[in-house]
């Protein structure tokens, strides 16, 4: 059974299920309850700055914790709690706030198990909103998953639709490793079919969402709809059939899926919302020119944001975000 749910509602449902099925799951972050614990007849909760976690504090009053604005402290607290018997979901309101919360991820969560010779387990999930698209400007619009995906010891996932959001989040919460879960602004307001009940989408597996033999389009998160749109148009206008792959997981990377598609098509375009340097897009291209060298019939193209901060002005922001037009141009360039 499934029904249509918004992206946020799917996430909310996943947390609800995780907390019901495991008493050690807690949710903490800035305003995840949001007034929810205040007394007063005319007082209600906000459930997060985007309303995603609304209702959870009512179901689990002791396990939904509003924290002070202290990202370093709250992230480190999450890591400490994860190492000692809880399974915390930490909300980092916007991914840009990695700036104030990096150490507990980079030097603690990611390394504790290794440094302790395998004795520790850090079942921590970090939920965070990433990317541009809401005119939130330079400090609230970054796609910094390239940082978390680059850090050994962390996993990073990014769903492209509500059903995957629910299943990937459940998998992330139940994973015994620290997992960063990105919620891209570009698709935060979309909705889609979401299965009922408890299910997981495995971490590390990409999904083919359109079958084609001419060119591989590799997208993830908010760029998946962009790839789909480009594929539609290329099929219609150029008769080019795209093999569209949704990575879903940025670390581990499903190398098999990427190389398998490349083997079939010989041409590949990777579409990444982040800036180009040190990017997942570069990793995909580098994989192709190493393991997939013999399959390559054309240059691998990366369609990314420019090497620039995210601008505020709507017209500039729209130019900043990878578009179907740019994907189409890249494909045509290859042909």
């Amino acid at each position: 059974m499934s029904r249509k749910l918004g992206f946020g509602a799917a996430i909310n449902e996943a947390i609800q299920i995780a907390m019901q099925t495991d008493p050690t799951v807690i949710l903490m972050g800035e305003d995840v309850a949001g007034g929810g614990k205040r007394e007063g007849d005319d007082i209600d909760e906000m459930g997060g700055v985007l309303g995603t976690t609304r209702g959870l504090v009512k179901s689990f009053p002791d396990r939904v914790l509003d924290t002070p604005i202290s990202e370093m402290g709250l992230m480190g607290t999450g890591v400490g709690a994860a190492a000692t018997g809880l399974r915390p979901i930490v909300e980092l309101m916007f991914m840009d706030f990695l700036g104030t919360s990096l150490d507990p991820l980079l030097n603690q969560a990611a390394k504790l198990r290794y440094m302790l010779g395998g004795k520790a387990r850090i079942p921590l999930t970090v939920r965070t909103v990433s990317g541009a698209g809401m005119q939130a400007a330079a400090q609230h619009s970054q796609s910094l998953y390239w940082i978390t995906a680059g850090i050994p010891g962390l996993k990073t996932v990014i769903p492209s639709n509500p059903a995957d959001a629910k299943g990937l989040l459940l998998a992330a919460i139940r994973d015994d490793n620290p997992v960063v879960f990105c919620e891209p602004k570009l698709i935060l307001r979309t909705s889609g079919e979401v299965p009922e009940g408890d299910y997981e989408v495995p971490i590390g597996k990409a999904q083919r969402i359109r079958e084609g033999h001419d060119v591989s389009l590799i997208g993830f998160g908010g760029t998946v709809p962009v790839c789909q749109k480009a594929a539609d148009k290329l099929a219609r206008e150029d008769g080019i059939e795209c093999d569209v792959i949704d990575l879903r997981s940025l670390q581990p990377l499903d190398e098999e899926a990427i190389l398998g598609s490349l083997e079939k098509t010989g041409r590949l375009v990777v579409v990444d919302e982040s800036t180009p340097r040190s990017s997942v897009a570069s990793d995909v291209a580098a994989l192709c020119v190493d393991q997939g060298f013999d399959f390559l019939e054309a240059p691998v193209k990366r369609v990314t944001a420019p090497h620039a901060p995210v601008p505020f002005s709507r017209t500039l922001e729209q130019t900043y975000i990878p578009s179907a037009e740019r994907v189409i141009a890249a494909v045509r360039e290859q042909a």
Binding site: P68, T100, M134, Q139, L316
Partner: protein, 324 residues
């Protein structure tokens, strides 16, 4: 209190400008004419203006996500600000910054900041610069009660205290960080006591009372400027609106808000005190209200007519380039 009539009228003009500017923004965002994350300063006008009335263009201020008030109090032009918020090429930041990054270095305004607490070390650096250059300038960091829970607050105040930097740290305690009441996340009644961790001077002002803020700021800046080091000034205030434009305000009681709005409006309070003491006439203030309205109409009109940034701007200004 040593403000002459001209200064008083200018202070009122700036408070009124903030008030009218932001009421207009609220309308524009609600009407869908303006985008982005928009946080309004309504109700807190006396803090920015009370503090900035002591400052020159050379003194640096750093601000927050709730930065329009600090800009206007520091003398940034509202026409360029309005154009910025419309995302136009004529904006004070060429449309690239927006509400959370609005700034004007020419006026000593180093920027609104989307990162809570991040302006605090920047002001500390400006204070260090002033001290080492021997310029006699001061730096002022505005930030909220919530920001005092950030590590950057602690680290900065400690550094400034050690080095006796000429920095005024102004905490705008408006009772909330987003939707969370301050007392849920700060276990002390007065944030000012946090200065004691650094053997730093602290003061508390009624943030709804321009005159109190002005006076306490004067005392604080005397301390800073005379080489005795930084000061933490807590201004108790309240935001009349939501955390952002569009906030349904479900998390606070209507009564509480009404009480502040009806009885503690800083512009009303200013007028009452000035008129009672016969410092200015009410008619002077009405005249200013009118002028500000006209100024604002013109600003909106000009902004709406202005061009959007050229696509080439997307990658300009990322780096400083020699000769560029």
């Amino acid at each position: 209190m040593n403000l002459d009539r001209t200064q008083l009228l200018e202070a009122y003009r700036r408070m009124r400008r903030i008030r009218s500017f932001e009421e207009r923004l609220s309308d524009l965002v609600t009407a869908g004419k303006m985008g982005g994350f928009m946080h309004l300063y309504l109700g807190e006008e006396a803090v920015a203006v009370g503090v900035c009335s002591h400052l020159s263009d050379q003194d640096i201020v750093t601000s927050t996500h709730r930065g329009h008030g600090h800009c206007i109090a520091k003398g940034v032009g509202i026409a360029e600000m309005m154009a910025e918020l419309f995302g136009r090429a004529t904006g004070i930041c060429k449309g690239k910054g927006g509400s959370m990054h609005i700034a004007d270095l020419d006026k000593g305004m180093l920027g609104a900041n989307g990162i809570v607490g991040a302006g605090i070390p920047l002001a500390t650096g400006a204070g260090l610069s002033a001290q080492l250059r021997g310029s006699g300038e001061v730096a002022v960091a505005f930030f909220g009660d919530g920001a005092t829970n950030q590590g950057a607050f602690h680290e900065s105040l400690n550094m400034a205290a050690n080095w006796k930097l000429p920095v005024l740290y102004v905490v705008e305690n408006n009772g909330f960080g987003e939707f969370t009441p301050t007392e849920f996340v700060i276990p002390v009644k007065d944030i000012a006591v946090r200065a004691d961790s650094y053997a730093m001077k602290s003061l508390i002002a009624d943030g709804m009372d321009f005159f109190d803020v002005f006076e306490k700021t004067g005392e604080a800046l005397d301390h800073c400027r005379s080489g005795q080091g930084p000061v933490l000034l807590e201004c108790k205030t309240y935001r009349f609106g939501g955390h952002f434009v569009g906030d349904p305000l479900v998390y606070r009681s209507k009564e509480e808000a009404e009480d502040w709005i009806q009885n503690r409006d800083p512009l009303d309070g200013f007028e009452q005190q000035c008129v009672e003491a016969s410092l200015v006439d009410a008619s002077d203030l009405r005249q200013i209200d009118l002028e500000v309205k006209e100024e604002l109409d013109a600003a909106v009109e000009a902004a709406e007519a202005a061009p959007m940034p050229d696509p080439s701007e997307l990658t300009a200004d990322v780096y400083f380039e020699e000769g560029a």
